[in-house]
């Protein structure tokens, strides 16, 4: 582990990508992630890589597609409206089983919205904003250090599963400066989400058919039944990911009367609220999914065995709450549970006090 640095989340993510051997970055400006292209434009050439400002988000994601086709580790980043424009390209990447990393530093929506932090693209990220039955692995860091770590993991998981991986952050995480510790990449490959599994060779990449038959990357499968087979193949892969990758941080849920659930920034704030509640003698727990897809249903269901009150804190109108409901329903009817929501859409960021207040209300 290198000495801690004090950096913006956006810059830490960019730096982590480079440390994880990403050598191709394609992006288009949009607040609040402009520090990513700015940083990449400085650092990539130093690292022997390529920074290219694409003409649009559409071009950027398709450049990531191209770089992945050629076997490179490539990345793009944007914020909500720009991510909407990438949906077709993301679907193509998933269909062609191309690795790649897409960061969404979310801002207030819908439409042009504003540039404040938001979490309102949860559905889009986890349910396929693009067309077709595909899934992204979605990672949701809540500190700058975790952002750096998960960025490194993102490239590894993308290569491991030949699937695009999304980093779902928000404007606060991207803009905030705090201490960041970059793990040593080799070590992280062992201790991070890859868990030391060896990466498969990219024996599918297009590099010129030298001494081998030509290769072909495509998603068009017109022969009857072939696309359905391909979908079942993808489904099998997704099932493996759902089995092996769900990850959550769980704090103090064993004896909890109420569990706060949230991801990223809202979970971070909820952590403080939980401590404040405990300080008041209220048995509050915290459930923070780190992988939003695959969502850690089983882990949350286990908690629902002993807890029936949940407060979901989201910087949106309530999206992850559906996954919380689906998880809790594995154990108990929703009639037999209280799953409350503290929604802060359109750029609002909750403060611990309001989470505490809302929790007290739930417990009443």
């Amino acid at each position: 582990m290198s000495a801690p640095m004090f950096m913006k989340g956006n810059e830490a993510m960019a730096e982590a990508a480079i440390r994880a051997d990403c050598r191709f970055y394609f992006g288009y400006p949009i607040t609040p992630q402009n520090e990513v292209p700015a940083y990449m434009s400085r650092r990539m050439p130093e690292a022997g890589g390529t920074f290219l400002q694409a003409e649009s988000e559409l071009a950027a994601i398709n450049m990531v597609f191209g770089a992945a086709v050629a076997g490179a580790r490539a990345m793009t980043s944007s914020s909500s409206p720009g991510i909407s424009l990438k949906q077709e390209g993301i679907s193509y990447m998933a269909a062609c089983e191309l690795p790649g990393v897409i960061a969404n530093i979310m801002r207030g929506g819908p439409g042009l919205g504003n540039i404040s932090p938001s979490q309102s693209d949860y559905f889009q990220a986890t349910r396929g904003g693009g067309h077709g039955d595909y899934r992204l692995i979605v990672l949701a860091p809540h500190t700058v250090t975790e952002l750096a770590e998960l960025t490194m993991d993102a490239f590894d998981l993308a290569d491991y599963y030949r699937n695009p991986v999304m980093i779902l952050g928000d404007g606060l995480l991207g803009q905030m400066m705090e201490k960041v510790e970059f793990p040593e990449p080799e070590a992280r490959r062992r201790t991070g989400l890859l868990r030391g599994r060896p990466l498969p060779p990219k024996d599918w990449a297009l590099t010129g058919a030298q001494g081998r038959p030509p290769r072909l990357i495509r998603s068009l499968l017109m022969q009857p039944g072939v696309l359905e087979q391909h979908n079942f193949h993808l489904a099998e892969k997704y099932a493996r990911i759902e089995r092996d990758e769900p990850l959550a941080e769980v704090i103090g849920c064993e004896d909890a009367d109420v569990v706060l659930a949230g991801f990223g920034t809202s979970a971070r704030v909820a952590k403080q609220a939980r401590e404040m509640l405990r300080a008041r003698g209220i048995k509050a727990g915290l459930f923070r999914p780190i992988t939003l897809w695959p969502f850690p249903y089983a882990q949350l269901a286990a908690i629902a065995r002993t807890t029936r009150r949940f407060l979901v804190v989201e910087m949106n109108l309530g999206q992850m709450i559906e996954d919380v409901q689906l998880a809790v329903a594995r154990e108990r009817s929703l009639k037999d549970a209280t799953i409350a929501l503290l929604p802060r859409p359109g750029g609002g960021v909750p403060v611990p006090e309001e989470i505490v207040d809302k929790t007290l209300e739930v417990l009443r």
């Binding site: 390529t50 559409l58 071009a59 398709n62 590099t207 010129g208």
Partner: protein, 251 residues
Amino acid sequence: MSRQLFARTPGLKDTVTTYCSGCGHGVAHRLLAEAIEESGARERTVAVAPVGCAVYGYDYWNFDTTEAAHGRTPAVAAAIKRVLPDRLVISYQGDGDLASIGLAEIMHAANRGDRITVIFINNTNYGMTGGQMAPTTLAGQVTTTTPLGRDSATTGQPLKVAELLATLPGVKYAARGALHKPGLVRKAKSLIQKALAVQEAGLGFSVVELVSLCPTNWGLTTLQSVELVEKQIVPVFPLGVFKDESGAKAE
């Protein structure tokens, strides 16, 4: 003793194409494959097939080929080239792909001077989807979305891609050929060869537009199609070299 004067190039696979009878994609595929094979670059080539009838290019070309989302073909090609600067990278596109949905991507790749070669098949319509208007559709031409003929007052004039791209400094070679006569086919091949050479020399972006036949959607026999090309299409899309800076040094 027997000498083969004309042989199928090893740049093509053995597969029989699914293109319609008389379709120009077949000739264009062959010329590209021959030019690449003959230059010795086949094992260094990565091609990008468009969404359009030629999406099946990968079934016919005997080199590495990827698909690209509709119109984003040059963006994919540009990225491949930046990852693998010593490979020969081809963006093969139709007029719906390049001139309609993908106009921003082609213009920007051209303006950046991306070192890729674009083979642009102008058949004045959207072949794969059944013959709708393309930006290249002639004024007055009947298509499935211009049942009374293309009305220039509301949908504009045919877009002249080779000339347009030639105006951009990043473009080092821009030409238009055709495929309906033996002499033109020979000429088209030399245009493609020149365009590939420009890429290999690292000079910049090169594009060859090929006026092509789509008898199916034109509702004509192949021979009527040839006549249409000669009498109506080529007059609007003149053949020629609009820019040739192949003499220039690589930047």
